[in-house]
Amino acid sequence: MFFDYANVFVFALGGAVLVFGGMWLGSLIRPKREGEAGLEPYECGEKPIGSAWFRFDIRYYTVALVYLLFAVEIAFLFPWARVLKEALADDAIGGLALVEGVVFILVLAVGLAYVWRKGDLDWVRGISHTPDDPEEG
């Protein structure tokens, strides 16, 4: 019975291989630059030590939301993909299963297109001066 837990170990091992293997592969091909900034814990450039009461850049929230878009997409598409074949064979559901999945992806694609077009994917937007925003900045 306990042998069933072997699955868990294999899973954990696979996860570890993916993480460390990825880091090792990356170390082979990325350029190496020594320096202060590279040693800081947060790659996004926030100061790791000091008071937590300071203003976060609003762009973190935008990026987090866009990330959520994809995270949720994956979370919902996994179970869908898992049963898709059976659903397609089912007379009551049939092609609708595929259509629904595509509609779901399209809805999220609209969201992605929206943030892209509005420039929220560019980290360095600078201080945007659009013609109808004379006072901004």
Binding site: A92, I93, L96, V107, V110, R117, T130, D132, D133, E136
Partner: protein
């Protein structure tokens, strides 16, 4: 029922979602965007959704995907929220604030999102689905309150809205999780069975606690005391059209959902008295009177606090916010009776309030357009220059007070009957008192409109003649400054005022809600 047939039953929601997506894409690909074009797109999708909903008013109830409840009850209130959203879209077109704002297509998108959330919320029998709708409605409303850039008052309002909203939504979620623990299911029917079983075993507190936690969320959405703090600030800080949506669409849908949840949770208790006479007395738990008292106290506080605070307000939307808190108290008073009659009266008055409240907000927007300010004092003498709109506002305010020739009178009468029938005389007295208080603050608006600072005697006579004949807007011609003609607002105002007067006879509407409520209790 095949899968495709089930999907067909959620078409109204799908239509609203389609409108939302079309507007988003349209915003991206059309270079020169005009606000009224997006308004037309939003209105047409809302219209199609309404067209799908209307036949359902007489349809037999079905449950789709074990979650979505398609019945007349849901259809009535989905229609209300669709109408409220459409009203807001039209009001936005005539709103003079932020004329060249880029955020305006987003206004439609967010409004459709809020509508979708509200439709899901009222049309489900699954608590998580309901919570999902609740959050979609809330999140869209947070953004709607501050959709305009560089609007500091709006930003402050939205911040307060979010903070209170997050708190009460979390409390409500906790209540839902306790109900899940009680019933082992999110289905309202199954939880209702578990509630009856628990109450029969005498574990009252196990039901009372999650019910009260659940009420935090609904109390917040309906702006009931003690969850009302946000509403004056938010109504003040945002624009009149959005405040109108919060006060009518959002509030009435929350009421309808609350009634659905309470009816399902205490189905055994409510029906027990009526059907099962033999064992009814034994089965009826002592918890129901407790809950009744809790709700009645909340209702009384809302009515009194709302009416008293409104007396001193100088800002029109802030005044209307307190008035709306008071009206939420009236609605809760009838819901607190936890019986079919009370539910029916509350829902009927909710529908009346949606009409009268929307009308009042339209009138306020109309006058704010004329004066350029939102203060009560800025209405000074405007009644003489715009006699028809002034008269309409007087009629609508009379409706909110509950004076006879309006829907407010017949609606409040039914509320009082329901409350007195259960022996809650003190609550009925507070309702009368709150109505009297509301007459004071409403009369203040009327006084400023008509009685203070008349124009010259000749002009006053001419305007009075115009008011009396009621045929022309002769008063407008004599106004010193050329008034802005806002045909859409005038049209809306006429519709709501006419509805307020016509709904004096509530019986046709009552026939509709009575059936819907009975279906709710005996599902």
């Amino acid at each position: 029922m095949s899968y495709a047939d089930s999907l067909r039953l959620v078409l109204p929601e799908v239509m609203v979602a389609c409108g939302l997506l079309v507007l988003l894409v349209w915003d991206l690909i059309v270079p020169k965007r005009r606000y009224w074009e997006s308004a037309v797109v939003a209105l047409s999708f809302l219209g199609v959704a309404a067209a799908y909903l209307i036949p359902r008013l007489s349809a037999t109830p079905v449950t789709v995907f074990a979650m979505v409840r398609v019945d007349a009850y849901a259809a009535i209130f989905q229609l209300v929220v669709v109408a409220a959203a459409a009203t807001t879209v039209i009001m936005n077109v005539s709103n003079p604030r932020f004329p060249r704002d880029r955020g305006r297509v987003e206004t439609q998108v967010l409004l459709l999102g809020a509508t979708l959330g509200a439709m899901v919320m009222v049309g489900t029998r699954h608590l998580l689905m309901m919570y999902l709708g609740f959050e979609a409605l809330s999140l869209s409303c947070y953004a709607l309150v501050n959709v305009h850039k560089r609007d500091r008052a709006g930003a402050e309002a939205a911040m307060k809205f979010v903070v209170y909203g997050a708190l009460s939504s979390a409390v409500m979620l906790y209540g839902i999780s306790l109900f899940f623990g009680l019933g082992g299911s999110f289905d309202l029917g199954e939880i209702g069975v578990a509630v009856s079983r628990t109450l029969a075993a005498g574990h009252n507190f196990q039901v009372l606690l999650p019910t009260l936690l659940l009420l935090a969320g609904f109390g917040y959405k309906m702006s009931l005391v003690p969850f009302h703090w946000w509403s004056p600030d938010v109504y003040h800080g945002t624009t009149t059209p959005i405040a109108s949506f919060l006060a009518t669409g959002s509030k009435i849908v929350a009421l309808a959902t609350l009634v659905r949840v309470l009816a399902a949770l205490f189905a055994g208790e409510i029906a027990g008295g009526a059907i099962d006479v033999a064992s009814g007395a034994a089965a009826l738990s002592s918890m129901v009177p407790d809950l009744r008292l809790f709700l009645a106290i909340g209702a009384a506080l809302s009515m009194l606090l709302g009416s008293l605070a409104a007396l001193q307000q100088q800002h029109l939307r802030r005044l209307l916010a307190y008035s709306s808190i008071s009206h939420a108290g009236f609605l809760l008073a009838a819901v607190a009776m936890l019986g079919a009659d009370g539910f029916d009266a509350a829902l009927l008055y909710g529908l009346c309030y949606a009409v009268m409240g929307s009308g009042t907000f339209v009138a306020v927007l109309y006058f704010c357009n004329q004066s350029g300010a939102d203060e009560v004092a800025s209405l000074r003498g405007l009644g003489w220059r715009h006699p028809l709109a002034g008269t309409a506002l007087v009629i609508l305010l009379a409706g909110l007070i509950g004076l006879p020739p309006t829907a407010g009178f017949s609606g409040k009468l039914r509320l009082l009957q329901a409350v007195v029938a259960e022996g809650y005389l003190w609550l009925a007295l507070i309702m009368v008192l709150a109505s009297l208080l509301s007459a004071f603050y409403s009369f203040r608006i009327v006084r400023v409109l008509f009685l203070e600072d008349r124009p010259s005697a000749d002009a006053a006579v001419a305007s009075a003649a115009a008011t009396a004949s009621g045929a022309s807007t002769a008063g407008d011609a004599e106004a010193p400054t050329a008034p802005r003609r806002l045909p859409l607002l005038v049209l809306l105002l006429a519709v709501f005022t006419a509805a307020t007067l016509l709904l004096l006879d509530l019986d046709p509407l009552a026939a509709l809600t009575e059936l819907a409520v009975r279906d709710l209790i005996y599902w």
